[in-house]
């Protein structure tokens, strides 16, 4: 029987949530957490489960990858499967990072699964099949099954279909195939052209991906004459959270007056972000929203002025569409007060 190794994070291994996200990589024989579901539907034995905390992978990537590749050196395996990571951004990036490294070092097929809003999709979809997964662990079984169905085809040496038909994100790879219709490119091209001229819908065989890069704004000429504003996606708010910003998948933002203080005090401000352990930020909110350092630079005259408010929302699980809308709303406020430049901190 063929063999598989599965990668999961500290949460799905049952070790703990955000407070355990610094968990160092480990490998366990047999099945842990979602590996059980995977083992049931896979035409291979899942022999080991690799576990790593999401923050450890995010902040100590080289060390984590090196350790895990070390664990795998003396193991035999035919496929490596990571996740599913759903909409969990750090988990998705961890899955992509380790799967890519395993593929490069051991040359085995690697797979993972993520929700479309997971930043790991954009980062790694070219490197491996990433299956189109659900938002949350409620979809665990379906997402595992989707990966296993495709993995089984590879393990059994069966023919695989294009990304859209198999259910993973486009990788930008073109494979040469014989079409059952037998139509040549010339025929298909003319058919598309006729449809286009007739105003009918047609599907291009060469979709051009849209890339949304923003032109670099002209730099500030003289900081000492500029007004700077602070924004954070780290969920720092007054302890009562007056704007009721959500702890995840935020659709709201708030702005809070800092004109009459030297720093954000613990007990008056805290974080409501559900995506990391809040202990450090609650003990000293300035580690996320550095009001104290900005006030010091204001005193020293390095900057001309500090905008009276800082802006805050929560970045975890927040869709790009919502983030863009909130960004546009904040721009209106910044322009009203002639803000020249912005520092944004993210967690």
């Amino acid at each position: 029987m063929k063999k598989a190794i599965h990668y999961i994070n500290q949460f799905f291994a049952g070790i703990g949530g955000e407070e355990k996200a610094d968990h160092k990589p480990e490998i366990r024989e047999g099945l842990v957490g979602p590996a059980m579901a995977l083992n049931e539907v896979l035409d291979a034995q899942v022999t080991h489960t690799v576990i790593c905390g999401d923050n450890f992978m995010g902040s100590n990537t080289d060390e984590a990858v090196e350790m895990i590749l070390g664990f795998l050196e003396d193991k035999e395996f035919d496929i490596f499967i990571a996740g599913p990571a759903f909409q969990a951004g750090r988990y998705g990036i961890a899955c992509g990072t380790i799967a890519k490294a395993v593929k490069e070092k051991f040359g085995v097929p690697v797979l993972t699964s993520m929700h479309i809003e997971n930043p790991g999709v954009e980062m790694f979809k070219k490197d491996m099949p990433i299956f189109k997964g659900g938002k949350s662990a409620a979809k665990l079984k379906d997402d595992v099954k989707a990966m296993a169905d495709y993995a089984n085809k590879i393990l059994n040496g069966e023919k695989t279909l294009p990304a859209a038909e198999e259910g993973f994100y486009d990788r930008g790879i073109r494979a040469q195939v014989w079409l059952e219709s037998g139509k040549t490119g010339a025929q298909r091209g003319v058919e598309m052209l006729i449809k286009k001229l007739a105003g009918e819908e047609f599907i291009s065989e060469l979709p051009i991906p849209e890339k949304d890069l923003v032109a670099i704004a002209p730099p500030i000429k003289d900081l000492s004459k500029s007004k700077i504003a602070l924004i954070t996606t780290g969920g720092i708010v007054p302890v009562a959270n007056p704007d009721r910003i959500q702890s995840a998948s935020a659709t709201r933002w708030g702005r809070y007056d800092i004109s009459k203080m030297d720093r954000l005090k613990a007990g008056e401000y805290k974080t409501i972000h559900a995506g990391f352990d809040p202990a450090a930020a609650d003990a000293d909110p300035n580690v996320v929203m550095p009001v104290d350092a900005m006030k010091e630079y204001l005193k020293e005259g390095k900057i001309g002025a500090l905008h009276d408010y800082f802006y805050s929302t929560v970045g975890t699980g927040t869709t790009q569409a919502e983030a863009a809308r909130m960004g546009k709303e904040i721009v209106v406020k910044l322009k009203e007060d002639n803000v020249d430049a912005v520092i944004m901190t993210s967690t």
């Binding site: 955000e18 996200a21 923050n55 995010g58 902040s59 951004g89 750090r90 990036i93 930043p119 954009e122 980062m123 949304d212 890069l213 923003v214 032109a215 670099i216 704004a217 002209p218 730099p219 500030i220 003289d222 700077i228 924004i231 996606t233 990391f276 352990d277 809040p278 202990a279 450090a280 930020a281 003990a283 000293d284 300035n286 580690v287 996320v288 550095p290 104290d292 350092a293 900005m294 630079y297 390095k302 900057i303 983030a323 863009a324 909130m326 960004g327 546009k328 904040i330 721009v331 910044l334 322009k335 803000v339 020249d340 430049a341 912005v342 520092i343 944004m344 901190t345 993210s346 967690t347």
Partner: protein, 79 residues
């Protein structure tokens, strides 16, 4: 969010730990932070050490706002 602000012509620098994410999303000016739960001050270290680190990195971010760049840039920090 970064992009909408920059699209409005306001220079912006993002201070974050997950640099590859900021690169992928399209942030133009990036200054690294030390972790996700405490970007600008490790609670395991004394307050003065945290302050030095935060003061330094925010300073780098301010200078980054004045930098004339022609591609996405991750600014170097010393502490």
């Amino acid at each position: 969010m970064v992009k909408e602000i920059e699209r409005a012509g306001i220079p912006i620098v993002q201070m974050c730990n997950l640099i590859p994410v900021a690169m992928t999303v399209g942030t133009n000016k990036i200054v690294p932070t030390i972790s996700i739960p405490y970007p600008l001050g490790d609670p395991q270290t004394p307050k003065e050490v945290q302050w030095k680190l935060r003061y330094h990195r925010v300073g780098i971010a301010l200078d980054a706002l004045t930098a004339d760049i022609d591609e996405q840039t991750v600014f170097k920090v010393k502490i």
